[in-house]
């Protein structure tokens, strides 16, 4: 019969979506200049020209039956090898092609990795603030997501609370660095301590605990950031990556999961991901995109605008009086709301000023709001007086 579970879900719109829809309705009613939309994390800079040139070259030069033909179940070998080589070169790792599983973006990578290392009734721990889509990825695998409350002093990790929440049902820990929505990057110190605690708990519980790292913002780090390659610090790790943000291809659904060669069952995990795909009807990502990203593995879009916007906005907001942890990457920042109820604050800013920002409640971190500044710098400049007005609603 028609699934009541999925039917009920269609009625539950995400809060981010509601703000986005409000901004569209307002723009339609009052004109586009009445809206300052900082709600959506969609890259605003084009992909590298090399990428589009490679797409055209592939279509013009490769034999079409081979180009558009089925990928091997575990991905195009040339793509897997090129990704392994790039990671090894850049981060001193020793991945082989067999450790890399091309996926439909980081979402696909996470959904596959989670199903491989966590089963029915087991627990995955993550840290607030976190991307709310982790909930369906984890519950879709039959596991349960438990959330360590935010360290609001620095958006690193509250290790005391983390250790208190660890228990033998924990199959994996899921982190996102650089972080959506806080914009911070986990430091070498944070990753080192996380790895130490996890290693200790693995021994104590007598089973592996996987570290799943959600890294779509890996290349979006700002000057001075201490942004270590997480998998270097912990053997039982799976790196989940997407080309969505680094080369501005969110609609092309291309990324990968890279299994640490030192992980338990490292040689099984990619073939297991191939099996997971059979149950979700996912199969490989598009062949053309697998081939095309091979040529851009060490490139990024021109990401400088994100850092410029971050600095401009951070300086202005803190001058106004907002409290904010300085972002070190991504295209987000996550200030404290001047009103305790961030939801109220964001709706007031939207309705009175056309300033569209989203409350931290969606990321399990109330009292804060997220600004997505992947927008033209001019829009940031125009919005600063509005952020000032919004602050003075309350202070």
């Amino acid at each position: 019969m028609i699934s009541q579970f999925y039917k009920d879900m269609t009625g539950k719109e995400s809060v981010i979506r509601k703000f986005f829809d409000y901004s569209r309705a307002r723009a339609a009613e009052l004109g586009p200049d009445s809206v300052f939309n900082f709600s959506i994390g969609n890259p605003s800079v084009p992909c590298p020209e090399d990428f589009n040139e490679e797409l055209i070259k592939l279509v013009q030069e490769r034999e079409p039956v081979a180009l558009h033909g089925y990928s091997p179940t575990l991905g195009q070998n040339s793509t897997k090898q090129a990704i392994a080589d790039s990671l090894n070169r850049r981060f001193g790792m020793n991945y082989e092609a067999k450790h890399v599983f091309p996926t439909s973006g980081a979402a696909g990578a996470l959904a596959h990795a989670i199903r491989c290392v966590a089963s029915e009734g087991e627990t995955i721990i993550t840290f607030a603030p976190y991307f709310p889509e982790y909930i369906p990825y984890v519950t879709g695998a039959g596991a349960k997501l438990e959330v360590v409350p935010a360290d609001t002093t620095a958006f690193q990790i509250d290790f005391e609370k983390f250790e208190a929440m660890m228990n033998p049902s924990v199959a994996a820990v899921l982190i996102n660095t650089p972080n959506n929505p806080s914009g911070i990057v986990y430091t070498t110190e944070t990753i080192t301590r996380l790895a130490e605690i996890m290693s200790k708990k693995q021994k104590e519980y007598g089973h592996e605990i996987f570290l799943i790292t959600d890294e779509p913002y890996r290349e979006l780090v700002f000057a001075g950031a201490d942004a270590p390659f997480v998998s270097k610090f912990y053997d039982n790790s799976i790196c989940c990556y997407s080309f969505s943000k680094s080369i501005s291809l969110p609609g092309e659904r291309i990324g990968y999961a890279a299994v640490n060669p030192a992980a338990k069952d490292a040689d099984y995990l990619v073939p297991m991901m191939g099996q997971v795909s059979r149950f979700t009807g996912h199969n490989c990502p598009t062949a053309l995109m697998q081939f095309a990203v091979e040529k851009c593995l060490d490139e990024t879009s021109d990401l400088s605008i994100y850092e410029r916007n971050a600095n401009l906005l951070y300086d202005a907001l803190t001058k106004i009086g907002y409290k904010c942890i300085k972002p070190m990457g991504t295209f987000y920042m996550f200030p404290e709301s001047p009103c305790e109820d961030a939801n109220e604050f964001c709706w007031k800013a939207a309705k009175e000023l056309g300033l569209i920002i989203v409350p931290g409640d969606s990321f399990d971190c109330p009292g804060h709001f997220r600004i997505s500044y992947c927008v033209p710098t001019e829009l940031v400049e125009k919005a600063i007086p509005l952020f000032e007005k919004a602050y003075h609603f309350y202070k």
Copy 2:
């Protein structure tokens, strides 16, 4: 902990795969001329030139941030509308854009459709011979696949057995026409009778029973075939389509599910599919492929070679003495094995003659073997004497 379920599965290679691997190993050892590979259903003709031209045009002319940006959750509206228009024009239906959900091929369409209309503990009925990947699609949704034994007289439907197997736990019936592996097409008479029985059972059980139609071979029909558009005959239907075979794009993972506008909850089903995607980490198919197929909806590759090969091979095999239902579409045929154990027959043909065909056991239809004749006609001609030798192993 590492999933024992998926780990155990990695050891279980499909029989088709084993034959394919054998053919590769043999070619490596004895040279490519020693192998006559009829095991794999991979299109052998190129995509229409229009398709590649459209890819290049999109990349050259569209603004890259928009071209490669996120699809709306339920797919590109222009693509959905174009697919609806094409189906309406060709089959006299009345789909709207909201009834169409772009997917990663027919696999994605089936996995989404099944999760929407069948829940934990419910049953989906299909008919032998059938594509073995239906098992993970159905069990992945928590449902159970039950198989009506083959009508080996015509590979239509054994309605007596079908009716006997119907029961109130049946949430959906899943058919594949034109059929892999038999090459037959369900006739208007078959579809009419199927719809009548299902309608009767819906009333009797007091709940809807969905008809899910797996139609990747829809355009691959031969002269004289009676190949009705299934959804015209039954309201509670979801058509699952892929561009893999019709325009030779199996690696590009692009297809759709089209919900019959007359179905129960027709307006909910596509939004529900969007919710399913969140749990599987699938999201939309590649934006570029969605845009590009818009221009080729009423086109196919030059599929004439498949019909030419079918006729050549059917005439030759039946002359030799093989019993075979004449294929009316696809690029498969499914003769009776001259030895009762088709598995034994296929291995003997592979090892003694380099003739690679696969046993019907994989499709829940023992005593038959599948020939995939999506190969150059020259290869078919060369293989005919080998089919003759293989027949005379036993007769």
